[in-house]
């Protein structure tokens, strides 16, 4: 370049303050996520005069993490804002921007979620929406067969069987009792943790940091889940993620479904065959002395350390997690807010009545052992869901499989 252009270059480099910038954000596409994300992002873009590009990522959180790790470890500037899972802040912390200077209203969020996203004193992400596993049921079918909402897993198995048999006799040969997430992926870890915890089987790693996956609670829980496959759940459930399960439930071919809250607004959509026929309850207990359990999920927004516009990106995060935006998302898409105040907001509770009833479920979710296993969590979870999958598929008995798992996890975490 000729030297006479250098002053010009300097001007160009100073100019960005006035320029409109292009940011990129990756948000999920499960259910109505992408549409809602696009609307929120567009509103911010219109307000600030910048442009935001949506980058699509895989639905499976296991795959999305791999993609992020590749992009981040390459130091790529392609992504400014990332939607990250509740279990990732610890794994990705070193590649994320500390948001503390940019976020003014930290105190208005659930403290447990802020602390989950604070790694070594740095706020690496902001909670965007929280999640907990829920039991969806068909109100009309429970009424038809005069059954209560199941409180224990055995009750659920029985009711599911009654409805399934009854509906099949009535002519729907495609009817199933219960659908859930059985594919060998992170979602199965969530489902299985709920079964185990509800049977008082703990959370895989106990408070002392010891691996604990061979206790009777774990074995009972896994054996019970195995008994569902091919009786009240189709065999294909072993390859279902969230959307596959919702597909079967929402076409009216299942009596019960385990899923995240997002499924509610879709089941209630105007074109849904099961509109106004769906109820939501906490997942059943392991037995009379068991407890209700819901695996804690949820997604955060983080800014890549390699972003070329950190300030703008942080502003976008702040906008998307704001009261108004979370309210819109709660009403339109049943995404659980991360600000306690929204659970008192009349407009929200009218739109989604179960938010208020299940408030305790959402705040007392069972966390996955992600912080205790640190950067090994991916492998811990993988070993767990593969073992569970083997048991469900019948290729290994629960007692032997969990013994192997105990051994494997100990090796991993030594």
């Amino acid at each position: 370049m000729k030297t006479k252009y250098l002053p010009l270059l300097g001007l160009v480099m100073l100019a960005p303050v006035a320029h409109s910038e292009t940011l990129s954000i990756s948000c999920g596409a499960v259910g109505a996520e992408l549409q809602l994300c696009k609307e929120g992002v567009d509103a911010w873009a219109a307000k600030t005069g910048n442009t935001v590009k949506l980058v699509s990522t895989p639905n499976s959180s296991t795959e999305r993490l791999s993609l992020y790790q590749q992009i981040l470890s390459a130091g790529s500037t392609d992504l400014d804002v990332l939607q990250i899972d509740v279990i990732w802040p610890g794994m990705l912390a070193s590649q994320l921007l500390d948001l503390t200077p940019y976020i003014k209203d930290q105190a208005e969020f659930f403290p447990s979620m802020i602390s989950n996203d604070t790694i070594n004193g740095k706020l690496v992400a902001m909670p965007w929406f929280t999640d907990a596993g829920l039991l969806f049921y068909r109100k009309d079918l429970l009424e038809k067969y005069k059954l209560p909402v199941p409180a224990t897993w055995s009750e659920l198995s029985q009711s599911a069987k009654v409805i399934q048999d009854g509906e099949r006799q009535a002519g729907n040969s495609q009817m199933w009792g219960y659908v859930w997430q059985g594919r060998a992926y992170e979602g199965l870890t969530c489902d299985a943790l709920e079964w185990v915890y509800s049977h008082n089987g703990g959370t895989l790693i106990n408070a002392k940091g010891e691996v604990d996956v061979t206790n009777p609670g774990v074995i009972t829980a896994l054996n019970q889940a195995k008994s569902w496959v091919n009786t009240i759940s189709p065999e294909g459930v072993l390859n279902y993620a969230e959307e596959e399960a919702r597909g079967v439930f929402q076409t009216g071919n299942a009596a019960f479904m385990r899923n995240w809250p997002y499924a509610w607004s879709l089941a209630q959509a105007s074109d849904s065959p099961i509109k106004d026929k769906v109820g939501v309850a906490p997942l059943p207990k392991g037995g009379e002395d068991g407890k209700h359990a819901a695996t804690l999920g949820g997604w955060q927004l983080a800014v890549s350390k390699y972003s070329q516009h950190p300030q703008l990106a942080a502003d976008l995060v702040s906008y998307l997690t704001s009261y108004e935006e979370q309210k819109r998302r709660a009403i339109k898409g049943t995404y659980n807010p991360t600000r306690p105040a929204l659970y008192q907001d009349a407009e929200v509770t009218t739109a989604v009545p179960f938010f208020k009833d299940l408030y305790d479920v959402f705040v007392n979710g069972v966390p996955r052992p992600s912080s205790i296993s640190g950067d090994k969590y991916g492998q811990v979870s993988n070993a767990f869901f593969n073992t569970v999958h083997e048991v469900l598929a019948g290729s290994q008995p629960a007692d032997k499989a969990t013994k192997d798992l105990q051994h494997k996890l100990k090796r991993l975490l030594r």
């Binding site: 590749q70 060998a184 390859n239 950067d375 993988n382 598929a393």
Partner: protein, 323 residues
């Protein structure tokens, strides 16, 4: 990745072998090398360097976040003995499961493709109206990218709303829908079915090319002698196209050994269908264990390289025996 490197190495082999001396003058040899040099450099950069790096990483404890501070740990990623227990890829039951799946997949799918490809090629070699159209149509499965066709099949194989189950039930072959990709005894077969659907056209194409090169006089002689067509096929056609078959099978075996996308799309990380490449990817990308994953990749590379050498050696020997 080492798998793509093997590709490049394969093409590099003839280029690297020195031209016969004496027949070319010295200057011409030098010119030849000069012309080859850019390609050799490119090959070294795009194939040699990643391959060597992968092999180097397999001797270190590298992880994704500590790539630059990796320490040399010898053969520990492959096999090591510690506290009365074996560690490393070679002591990993999941790796051996992946090896078993890969071998099963390769053997079954390539055999099926060979037989079906032969049938297709013989049909396409016959004279019938609209032959050109049928030839083009047969090639379509091969032209569709694997990711697309695998995703398409995963919907067709869906246990609740998949068209395959629907068809089989309405034809009375099945009573209840099968969970093709979820049932552990079916899922590997489902993968084989999708692969056979996709790559049979490739096999058919190569065999068809060989069939069209056949001399017609043998066939005329056979017809004059009134020999049964089946006998003609086994005595004349088959021996004549064997070299082409060997090439086709070699291509497919090498491809099948590093199978990844079709399995990953259909059944993700399930241990029932995991191939060696899926295993290596999981270690490298998902678990961030660059050292361990590199060891798995290196083993896969060695496996394919050794098999190729053995196959070429045997193939050459057999051909020489035949001639």
């Amino acid at each position: 990745m080492s798998t793509s490197a093997t590709d490049k190495l394969r093409t590099a082999a003839p280029a690297a072998s020195a031209p016969p001396k004496g027949r070319l003058s010295r200057t011409r040899v030098r010119a030849a090398w000069l012309f080859l040099l850019p390609m050799l450099v490119v090959l070294l950069l795009v194939a040699g360097w990643p391959l060597l790096r992968t092999i180097w990483f397999s001797f270190t404890d590298a992880s994704f976040s500590t790539l630059h501070e990796a320490h040399f740990i010898g053969l520990e990623n492959y096999l090591s003995y510690d506290d009365g227990e074996w560690y490393g890829v070679l002591a990993d039951p999941q790796w051996w499961g992946a090896v078993r799946n890969t071998l099963f997949f390769t053997l079954v799918s390539v055999s099926l493709e060979l037989v079906l490809g032969m049938v297709f090629a013989l049909v396409l070699n016959a004279q019938f109206p609209g032959r050109a159209l049928v030839r083009a149509a047969v090639l379509i499965p091969w032209a569709i990218p694997t990711i697309v066709s695998a995703k398409m099949w995963s919907w067709m194989l869906h246990d609740q709303f998949g068209i395959l189950n629907h068809l089989l039930i309405s034809l009375g072959i099945l009573d209840a829908p099968l969970a093709w990709t979820a049932n552990s005894s079916l899922s590997l077969w489902a993968v084989v079915i999708v692969d056979v659907w996709k790559t049979t056209p490739f096999m058919a194409l190569l065999i068809l090319a060989a069939l069209q090169m056949l001399p017609s006089d043998c066939y005329e002689a056979a017809r004059v002698d009134g020999i049964h067509p089946v006998r003609v096929f086994f005595r004349v056609t088959l021996p004549l196209i064997t070299p082409a078959l060997l090439v086709a099978v070699t291509f497919r075996v090498l491809d099948a050994l590093r199978v990844f996308d079709v399995i990953y799309v259909l059944t993700s990380n399930s241990a029932d269908t995991m191939s060696m490449s899926v295993f290596a990817r999981q270690q490298l990308v998902e678990f961030q264990e660059v050292g361990y994953g590199s060891a798995a990749s290196t083993l896969l590379f060695l496996f394919i390289a050794l098999l190729t050498l053995a196959w070429l050696y045997l193939g050459r020997k057999r051909l020489q025996g035949d001639l």
